[in-house]
């Protein structure tokens, strides 16, 4: 009797502790999400929200509870004029625009290279898993590609021309190879294609084959065709975006289902109650002759569907990552900084959901 009383006391103490723990966790999340981050820079605010989300478990879409506070930076690149400072048509009436006054091609190349590196760092250098899709993890739902548009860069060609800056001569790749990141002893290119899991894609024609860690060849696709304009046409606005997509292997999806079933099953049987009763009844049906056949049939259909769906998802992922990774790596997923034309069709090629604040 004494022992039972003690046991009951222990379990109620544990229950209260768990409740208190979860409530404090909830309050902590609420406080963090409600905190006024205005005093911090947009970079820090975004990076903090990335870290916060990354620290949450990859289960039950829990990561969604920590929203990314990443705003798209709007940059207008214009010639460095003392007077007659013009705006960029794309951001005509937009309130928060950063102006980059440049005097040479070099400065435009530097700006774009730095924006790419900043975007990559801000988003956790591809080391933080930012998205979890419970249905895709179990191989039963569709996989989606999530993006944060770090910056939009527009050009005022009129003032740039006055300063002798020709957008069609911009070569960001060359700049990234030949210039070091300020304060570091490595080039932009080495940083973005070195030993970090980084992948870059600036699109469109130039393909640089590089050796990856396993000795295989990966193609890094770098060019800035997007802003190279034909004579007389307007320069296109460029978007620097961070894309992340991943999906488990077929075996991984099966394992996820298996572990979850094992966990739920154990909890049900240990916990007892009506759920355990239902589970026991279901199991006893599966033990009878026809019941066993029906159970085997249902299990086969379910596993086949899951495996086919997981394979299809891997195909979709390979479509998104095929230009920065090869083989199984491309099918597993990737985190990429891409430079694309700011155009819905171009963005849609890589992003099914945009998480940043426009």
């Amino acid at each position: 009797m004494e022992k039972n009383k003690k046991k009951a006391e222990m379990s109620s103490t544990m229950l209260v502790s768990v409740i208190l723990l979860v409530i404090s966790f909830g309050i902590l999340i609420l406080v963090i999400s409600k905190l006024n981050f205005n005093t911090q820079s947009e970079y820090e605010t975004c990076h903090l929200s990335v870290v916060e989300r990354g620290s949450l478990l990859d289960v039950f879409n829990l990561k969604e509870a920590a929203p990314l506070s990443c705003r798209t930076k709007k940059i207008c690149v214009r010639g460095d004029e003392l007077i007659d400072k013009e705006k960029c048509g794309e951001f005509e009436n937009v309130k928060s625009v950063d102006y980059a006054n440049v005097k040479s091609n070099d400065q435009v190349e530097k700006l774009i290279s730095e924006e790419m590196v900043t975007c990559w760092r801000m988003m956790g250098e591809g080391r933080i898993s930012l998205y979890s899709d419970v249905s895709a993890d179990y191989g039963i739902g569709d996989v989606s590609s999530n993006c944060v548009i770090c910056s939009r860069i527009a050009f005022n060609e009129k003032t740039l021309e006055k300063k002798g800056v020709g957008l069609k001569d911009i070569n960001v790749l060359n700049y990234m190879i030949t210039h070091k990141i300020p304060g570091q002893n490595m080039s932009y290119y080495s940083y973005l294609s070195g030993d970090s899991p980084v992948k870059i894609s600036v699109k469109d024609n130039l393909i640089i084959p590089i050796k990856n860690e396993t000795g295989g060849i990966e193609n890094i696709n770098v060019d800035l065709k997007n802003i190279r304009t034909e004579e007389g046409s307007e320069a296109d606005e460029v978007a620097i975006l961070y894309m992340q997509i991943s999906t488990p292997t077929k075996m991984g999806a099966l394992k996820n289902v298996g572990w979850t079933a094992l966990g739920v099953g154990t909890a049900t049987f240990v916990g007892g109650g009506p759920l355990a009763w239902i589970a026991k009844k279901a199991l006893s049906v599966c033990k009878t002759g026809y019941g066993a056949l029906a159970c085997a049939g249902i299990a086969t259909i379910a596993i086949s569907y899951q495996q086919i769906n997981a394979e299809l998802n891997r195909g979709v992922v390979a479509g998104y990552c095929g230009d920065v990774a090869v083989g199984e790596n491309a099918r597993n997923g990737c985190s990429v900084v891409r430079t694309v034309k700011y155009d819905v069709q171009d963005i849609k090629k890589y992003c099914s959901v945009i998480e940043s604040i426009p």
Binding site: N4, L15, G26, L30, R71, V353, I354
Partner: protein, 162 residues
């Protein structure tokens, strides 16, 4: 007889224990339900806040684009987010969200009802009349997407580009 009594007592204790277990189980289930509800509330509030912020910024961009248009002009505009929300138009002569302050207004909201748009982002455009198709809304379910804004004096038609 004594033996029988002991057995009965033992059985009685057993019954008591089972009752205790049921009470504990019910308390646990209620506790877990409260926790799940709490987590759901936090989740909902977090995602709603982010989407509202996206809606506000999208509407701000749309408003400045419309305001910068000539008397007669056609312009394309890219809408990035919030996915699965709607652009809804409310006219002066009908009931509208509080945020419209009794004027014609354009809202970006999760659904298309007044209640839902009260929690969304709204902006009024003076005497401009909008036409968003027969159901007076544009779904953002396939965002990012592009819309065409066709301005003809004080009449604006917005279409989704396929």
């Amino acid at each position: 007889m004594q033996d029988r009594n002991i057995k009965m007592n033992k059985r009685g204790e057993g019954v008591n224990l089972l009752g205790e277990d049921v009470v504990k189980m019910i308390i646990s289930i209620i506790g877990i339900a409260i926790l799940v509800f709490l987590v759901y509330l936090i989740y909902q509030s977090a995602t709603q806040n982010r989407r509202l912020e996206q809606a506000e910024m999208t509407l701000e961009g749309l408003t400045s684009t419309i305001n910068s248009m000539e008397e007669i002009e056609v312009k394309n505009y890219a809408i990035e987010s919030p996915k699965d929300w709607n652009i809804v138009y409310f006219q002066l002569d009908e009931s509208s969200p509080n945020k419209c302050f009794g004027k014609d207004c354009l809202c970006i909201c999760e659904g298309n009802s007044i209640e839902e748009c009260n929690k969304g982002a709204c902006s009024s455009f003076g005497n401009i009349i909008f036409y968003l198709g027969d159901d007076r809304k544009i779904s953002l379910e396939d965002a990012p997407l592009e819309i065409t804004i066709n301005k003809n004096k004080n009449k604006i038609t917005i279409n989704k580009n396929e």
